[in-house]
Amino acid sequence: MRKLLFLFTGFVTSLSAMAVARFPKPDFTSGYEYPDIVHGAPNELLWNVLDIVLLIAMMALVVWAAYKKRSRAVIYSVSFVSVAYFGFFRSGCVCSVGSIQNVVMAVVNPDYHLPWYVLLLFLLPILFALLFGRVFCAGVCPLGALQELVNIKHFRLARSVSATLSIIPWVYLAFTILYAATRSQFLICRLDPFIGIFRLGGDIGMISFGIVLLVMSIFIGRPFCQFLCPYGALLSVFSALSWKKLEITDKGCINCALCGKSCPVDAIRAPQYSKTKENRMKGVHRIIFFAILLPVLTLAGALLIGSQSNALSLAHKDVYLYEQLLQQQAHPNMEESLEVETFHALGGDIDELKAKVDDIRRDYRIYACLAGALIGFVIGFKLLKLSLKRSRQTYEISLARCTVCGKCFNYCPQNKSTQHKQPLISYL
């Protein structure tokens, strides 16, 4: 199996090496006439179908491995295939994480044609999350899988800190929606830290960021998935409501606590007991307070981010150009930027541009308010959730956080009886 995986990885890696580097033609003429370039029709449909088939097959395999076999080996193998195929071979695009943007654009703009496979890439992991939890994150997502493959140890942040940091993916998601809805830019694609690694080239800054994240992943379980991934944030909601609840063992927890520290994303919750005693009414008052605060924070977020819509709209190229033109007018001694020079060279009309910018800014006012409301709501909801006490008798998986990596299965002594002879890969 291992050999096969390595062979497969080697094969797909060598394919990308066959790509021909581009370079300008000689500008010194010799009379040679270049033949017309004939482009073959792309056979993208086949690959799209294969993408979807593999996505479904791999998520189904993870479900089978997690629910039926409780086998990390299978999930780990899926990670290999995902990195090799979705990552290096398919260059990490289009991925489910990035598909959020396409879907948002399609929702706000009826003229935008949403490809069927992009819609499926977006919906299928959500559907599986609703049924079985975040099986997509387990090893099917190439971004998560790559971090999973390099993870050796998992030094955990204090849970209070990681709970605070878990807001970041929602903020990221809010801005992703804002920029996609206003057709400004695809933030996820722009800030994808691993795309440069999968493509063996790209923006040096983002590649460096990706390498830093990968080095961090050696010691911290999936830092991107935990603290950045906007699609993970979305899946966590559906996963929390999943039909089937993933359990560490089906033989009943004996509270041995062995699984407690095995989870790289700190998704295993110990039995609830508290050293801190608190007056019950104080807790109730806190819950009421945060329940009232929730709409207030939502409104405040909407107002705050909405008030910054003009500044945020600079992410749109037309608004940026318009502002540059105004800057140029206000400071005639300023060096003319390439954008301004091009605008003039193409005979751009500043009045037309202004009308366009006004429309864009109107959109920004609406979507910035929505993005702010989402951020405010998430903060309020998180505060409310942190005020609730839950009784727990045994070690349980937090379905919202769990990325179904399967590490805890091997730690549980209850599972040992069915895992007498473990393959080497189970230890990874």
């Binding site: 890696t13 090496a17 580097a21 370079f23 300008p24 010194f28 010799s30 493959l149 390099v150 050796i152 140890k153 998992h154 204090a158 849970r159 209070s160 800190v161 709970a163 605070t164 807001i167 063996l200 040096i204 050696i218 041995c256 606590a257 062995l258 407690g260 520290k261 095995s262 919750r269 110990a270 007991y273 508290s274 050293k275 801190t276 924070l297 705050l304 008030s307 910054q308 105004l326 140029q328 007018q329 206000a330 005639p332 001694n333 003319e336 020079e341 003039h344 060279a345 193409l346 005979g347 009309d349 500043i350 009045d351 903060i379 505060l383 942190l386 005020s387 006490k389 730690y411 230890y427």
Partner: protein, 591 residues
């Protein structure tokens, strides 16, 4: 245990190897970023040499070999970088495998007994952190909102800023190097004043309608120099929205000639089969003040000559000296009127034998009216008295027919009449018509007119060449043939020569060397000529699109469509530009 050590050692060696390889690759990447293989000093020198040695096969072979070598070197380095990446990926796989195997028996053990997690405490802390984080974010956000609104207020408040901006930019217009920047300031003013787009109230204008100090007395300005000392010309306008449009008036009869301005009068002509007319419009109001007809002239043909539709019967631009204004038509009829519209004299100088139609424009030097009488059979240069039309001197020529117009240039410190035809560009003494020098360099149908700057005469025509001639000696300074005009004429400063072609290319030649300093492919034909004004070059395409360039760099500053076909060259005066389109005459002035 032995195996663990082995895994550990392999991991360490791999990690060190990866580190070294990464550094090497980083250096290699940096080198690749810095190097442009085809722009090495040697290559550039060889290419320059090749440009001056067209048929040096050996040199060309040498360039080819060097080109190939540079490309090979680049791709070898790129290949090495790629190999390095694969090597890194392979090493990373080995490292991860070894580390995993090394740590496979070291599981994270529970710490429940030592320090049980107090989840409620954790939640309390998390609430606190989250609350603080949200509060700080909110404070930062509000701070940003407040500071931004204060900054906005400070920046937008006084409209005086705009005036200052204009004043500053106007002052900077004195310096040609900063002219393009001034235009941007002008654009700012134009744009900011869009709220005042209505045509200027004529009653308000009545109070401020002075005689204009800057005239444009012939085709392409005074002396047909393709330049003007006018300042503060608008750099954007809109005919439909009346933005920066002082007035727009219809023209009674059609013609391709360009407007001429003196005092507060604009002169143009129009003609059809029924009549040939000279018009005077008021520069402030656009009102047609008077019309003088070219009729009842002895020798005038009874039937109109056959002319090309693109030339028409009134292609020649009038000329004025501020006291008289003269016009010529395709019939050979010349009329002269005073500033009040009184016809002073009229004569027919002979029906020009011209297969497209007579097109050469007039020129006045003091009281002398210069006519470059283009004719298939009897080409000559005529100097007539502007007062009564009597001939002062004439110069017959055996040159072939052309459609070019004369200019007055300052050559060797003296005024000289420069005419361009087929096959020569020649300079004459305007007082007696004696030839100063003659350079035979043109061919084909010469429709373009010469230009002069810094004592150098420039001429260019399609199917011939662009040439620079020392005005003092008649010596050829340089020749070029990169881009050549068909109908449009050259304009020049002491540094650059501007050329607009009928196939959409416009360029600036270096006035000293003839090297193309900058070119723009504007994909629209130009018959109108460029004019250098206020550090900018104004140019209209046939379709009516305006292009404004920096006169110092020939960077395109702005361009926009006026919506009306324009073949004539605009005339400039104090803060105003008068444009003739195929439908109307309009005046651009900042609102």
């Amino acid at each position: 245990m032995k195996m663990r050590k082995l895994y550990r050692n392999i991991a360490i060696v791999t990690a060190v190897f990866m580190l070294v390889l990464s550094v090497m690759m980083g250096v290699s990447y940096y080198q690749m970023q810095q190097v442009s293989p085809l722009e090495t000093g040697v290559m550039e020198t060889l290419k320059e040499l090749n440009e001056t040695n067209d048929d040096n096969e050996q040199l060309q072979q040498q360039i080819r070999e060097l080109d190939l070598l540079s490309r090979k070197a680049y791709f070898v380095q790129e290949g090495q970088l790629k190999t390095g990446i694969y090597l890194l990926i392979g090493m990373a796989l080995i490292l991860m495998l070894c580390l995993n195997l090394y740590f496979k028996d070291t599981k994270s053990l529970p710490d429940k007994q030592l320090d049980p997690i107090d989840e409620w405490m954790m939640k309390s802390h998390a609430r606190k952190y989250l609350g603080w984080a949200a509060a700080i974010a909110a404070v930062v956000g509000i701070g940003f909102v407040v500071s931004r609104s204060i900054a906005d207020k400070l920046l937008t408040a006084p409209s005086d800023n705009q005036d200052e901006l204009l004043a500053d930019s106007h002052q900077s217009g004195e310096n040609i190097e900063t002219d393009s920047l001034q235009v941007v300031a002008d654009i700012a003013a134009d744009t900011l004043s869009t709220a005042q787009q209505d045509v200027v109230d004529t009653t308000a204008v009545e109070d401020e309608m002075p005689e204009l100090k800057i005239a444009s007395k012939a085709f392409r300005g005074n002396n047909s120099s393709a330049s003007s000392s006018a300042r503060g010309i608008a750099t954007s306008w809109n005919l439909k929205g009346k933005k920066n449009i002082l007035w727009q008036s219809p023209i009674p009869k059609h013609g391709y000639n360009s407007p001429v301005i003196t005092g507060r009068s604009i002169f143009i002509t129009g003609a059809d089969a029924q009549a040939r007319e000279l018009y005077c419009f008021d520069v402030w109001t656009g009102e047609l003040k008077w019309t003088v007809k070219a009729d009842g002239i002895a020798g005038s043909p009874s039937a109109m000559p056959k002319v090309n539709e693109d030339t028409g019967l009134a292609a020649s631009t009038v000329a004025t000296n501020g006291e008289q204004v003269a016009a010529i038509f395709a019939t050979g009829d010349v009329i002269c009127a005073d500033m009040d519209g009184q016809r002073l004299w009229a004569k027919n100088i002979g029906l020009p034998d011209n297969h497209y139609g007579y097109a050469s424009s007039l020129l006045m030097l003091g009281n002398t009216l210069i006519i470059q009488y283009q004719n298939n059979s009897n080409a000559q240069i005529l100097a007539l008295s502007a007062k009564d039309g009597h001939q002062i001197w004439s110069k017959s020529s055996k040159d072939k027919i052309a459609w070019s117009s004369p200019i007055i240039a300052t050559l060797g410190g003296k005024s000289a009449l420069v005419v361009m035809g087929n096959p020569a560009i020649a300079a004459y003494n305007p007082s007696n018509g004696s030839e100063l020098w003659r350079v035979e360099c043109m061919s084909g149908e010469v429709g373009s007119s010469p230009a002069s700057a810094g004592g150098v005469v420039f001429g260019a025509s399609e199917y011939a060449k662009c040439i620079a001639i020392d005005g003092a000696t008649g010596e050829t300074l340089w020749e070029a043939s990169d881009y050549l005009p068909e109908c449009s004429s050259l304009a020049a400063t002491k540094d650059l020569v501007f050329c607009a072609t009928s196939y959409g290319m416009v360029c600036a030649y270096d006035a000293k060397t003839g090297e193309v300093k900058k070119e723009h492919d504007l994909t629209t034909p130009f018959y109108s000529s460029p004019v250098v004004v206020d550090g900018k070059v104004y140019l209209f395409s046939n379709s009516g699109k305006v292009y404004i360039f920096s006169a110092s760099t020939f960077d395109l500053i702005t361009s926009f469509d006026t919506g009306e076909k324009t073949f004539a060259t605009p005339a400039f005066t104090d803060g105003m530009m008068v444009v003739r389109t195929d439908k109307s005459l309009y005046c651009v002035k900042k609102n």
